[in-house]
């Protein structure tokens, strides 16, 4: 099997030299989105679910800055509330897959031997299942919503983190400082957890940030397919799904607004992730 980490490496190898402008801009975008998500009820001009039949498919007006949808619901308010599920889902996936992945990678890289081979074989099998496919499978088994897909995608992403951690830990193991602790009689487990782990965590963490954008797009896709967050709830993917019918009638705004929100956040997260990897990792050893 070819290793997907190689693709990841290649994907990130040629870096565009970015000034701090795009990085800071991306941080600002993400901060605004996060604040919007947290304080949605205070910021949103309307109740995201309030139906107004007097203002169906309203274009951008002073009352509705980004117009309204087929039920007269305010698109801006729905987009602000939609930031909640849009950011929470990927956050949960990235955090849990990073924790699980680091621990498994540490185990494989530190112990080596048969544990390493068995874990490697398991990762190979999981790599054959694309994350979105695992998420769809989880919905087929456990029903629609965000819970099953989030758990499923955490499992799908953990091997990527684990493989990177394993590589880093394996090269760290032969460093002189590890031998120095060994000679002083520290136990292997202590060195691994208290000295090696803190050394590899920042690099792995920076790489995990890059997964955030993929997960966000995949969870939004799931809601777009009608398998994730369900219809009345304001969610970017679900909003696009609902707005598809209006597209044919030339009402683009209810679909384009959440779509642009997805693209903007994905770009921002990717810029931040690549910058962090550059600063912390200085390239991935392969």
């Amino acid at each position: 099997m070819t290793t997907p980490t190689m693709a990841v490496k290649v994907l990130r190898a040629p870096r565009v030299r970015r000034g701090n402008i795009s990085f800071n801009l991306s941080l600002a975008v993400l901060a605004v989105m996060t604040l919007a998500a947290v304080f949605a009820p205070l910021i949103a001009p309307y109740d995201p679910d309030a139906v107004d039949f007097a203002a169906i498919y309203s274009g951008p007006t002073p009352a509705h800055w980004l117009g309204t949808d087929a039920l007269g619901r305010d698109t801006l308010s729905r987009m602000i509330f939609g930031a909640r599920t849009a950011l929470l889902g990927p956050l949960l996936v990235v955090v849990s897959s990073t924790i699980v992945g680091i621990l498994l990678g540490l185990l494989a890289g530190w112990r080596g031997g048969w544990i390493d081979s068995v874990l490697g074989r398991i990762f190979d099998v999981i790599f054959a299942f694309p994350a979105l496919l695992i998420a769809i499978m989880a919905v087929a088994l456990f029903g629609k919503g965000l819970v099953a897909p989030v758990i499923a995608m955490s499992i799908a992403y953990a091997p990527f983190v684990a493989r990177l951690t394993r590589t880093l830990v394996a090269s760290e193991r032969s460093r002189p400082y590890v031998a120095a602790y060994r000679v002083q009689g520290f136990s292997g487990g202590w060195i691994a957890l208290r000295r090696v782990l803190p050394n590899v965590t920042p690099i792995v963490g920076a790489q995990s940030t890059l997964n955030f954008g993929y997960v966000l797009a995949e969870l939004a896709a799931l809601s777009f397919l009608g398998l994730g967050v369900q219809a009345p709830t304001a969610d970017w993917g679900a909003m696009i799904n609902e707005a598809q019918a209006g597209l044919m009638g030339g009402y683009f705004l209810p679909a384009i607004v959440p779509a642009m929100a997805v693209v903007i956040v994905v770009v921002a997260v990717n810029v931040i992730g690549e910058e962090l990897s550059d600063r912390i990792g200085g390239g991935i050893p392969a």
């Binding site: 290649v10 190898a13 040629p14 694309p130 496919l133 777009f224 009608g226």
Partner: protein
């Protein structure tokens, strides 16, 4: 190591991965708590015939490992069981929809290859210059446009606003089908171009800096010859590897595009089957996608020494 042993080893690994994947797909059902008949017949009336059919199909009165073996034996004979929503054989249902998905994936794959290779080559040959940067930024932006966003923007602009392309269905006959699949395949291709573009660029940049290129230049070969015979030929290995990894992504993402454009392919069938609780169809499609991915990557892996003879000598030759 002889070629025969190498190929046999790879085939063994392929079979093992396929076996483990089939185990995961089959036994995933056992993660659901409760009685299997009520899981398989969710949302349907558990009529005696339906219960009898599902029990027979999965051999529910047998021990789990025997259920698995029966299921696997059926699949090896092309029997994926019966669909609950269509009351037809799963293989028939999938067979009817496979051509659309294959057409979509082939068209999108061609676009990805053409645009990705050209963009990557342009960037590599102008590395460090404005054009290089422009291509990289362009690729990064394309890489942030998920298929569902691409689909709705293309529908809005080219189907509704300009009316150049249809936005629904897959058409009749060859050319009409191609015409119907233009927008969907662009929507599918967009997000993946960045992968091929960037790997082409970095792989070619790597080769351009090598001594053998310097030697070729000093021998007076033309730039075109050097790029074709010395740079691109050596750069093809990583590009092929990444292309193999695209297969699964394309097949899964086609479900999004098929849903957006109302195409009756296996991707939209997968979504519809999840929605209508038709588990046999879901299992079959998941297994097909995973198998396609694993097999294509194994083929690329096995063929690599013939495409790039240096890799036969060992990884260090690069």
């Amino acid at each position: 190591m002889t070629t025969f042993r190498r190929v046999a080893g790879k085939l063994g690994a392929l079979l093992l991965t396929l076996f483990l994947a089939s185990v995961l797909v089959f036994f995933s059902r056992f993660l659901v708590p409760g009685d299997p008949i009520s899981f398989l017949l969710r949302g349907r009336k558990p009529s005696p015939e339906a219960v009898a059919q599902v029990t027979a199909q999965y051999g529910l009165d047998l021990p789990p490992w025997q259920q698995y073996l029966n299921w696997l034996a059926g699949i090896l004979h092309g029997d994926f069981g019966r669909s609950l929503q269509f009351r037809q054989d799963v293989s028939v249902v999938i067979g009817e929809r496979l051509p659309v998905t294959l057409g979509l994936v082939i068209m999108a794959g061609t676009m990805i290859a053409v645009v990705g290779l050209i963009a990557g080559a342009i960037a590599a040959l102008n590395r460090g210059r404005v054009l290089d940067r422009a291509v990289l930024v362009g690729l990064t932006v394309l890489g942030a446009i998920p298929s569902f966003v691409g689909s709705i923007v293309l529908i809005a602009v080219f189907a509704v606003q300009l009316g150049w392309f249809p936005s629904f269905g897959s058409g009749e006959g060859f050319w009409d089908t191609v015409y119907h699949l233009v927008l969907p395949s662009i929507a599918l291709a967009i997000v993946f171009v960045v992968l091929i573009g960037k790997v082409t660029r970095s792989s070619m940049v790597d080769q351009l800096g090598r001594e053998h290129v310097e030697v070729a230049t000093s021998r007076g070969l033309t730039r075109g010859t050097i790029i074709r015979r010395h740079v691109f030929r050596n750069a093809i290995g990583p590009i092929l590897t990444v292309s193999g990894l695209l297969v699964a992504g394309l097949l899964v993402a086609s479900s999004i595009v098929e849903a957006a454009f109302g195409l009756a392919g296996i991707g939209s069938l997968l979504v519809q089957s999840v929605d209508r609780l038709d588990f046999p169809v879901v299992q079959a499609i998941v297994l097909l996608i995973v198998s396609a991915f694993v097999v294509v990557n194994a083929i690329i892996d096995i063929l690599e020494p013939w495409i790039d003879p240096r890799s036969a000598a060992g990884a260090g030759a690069r």
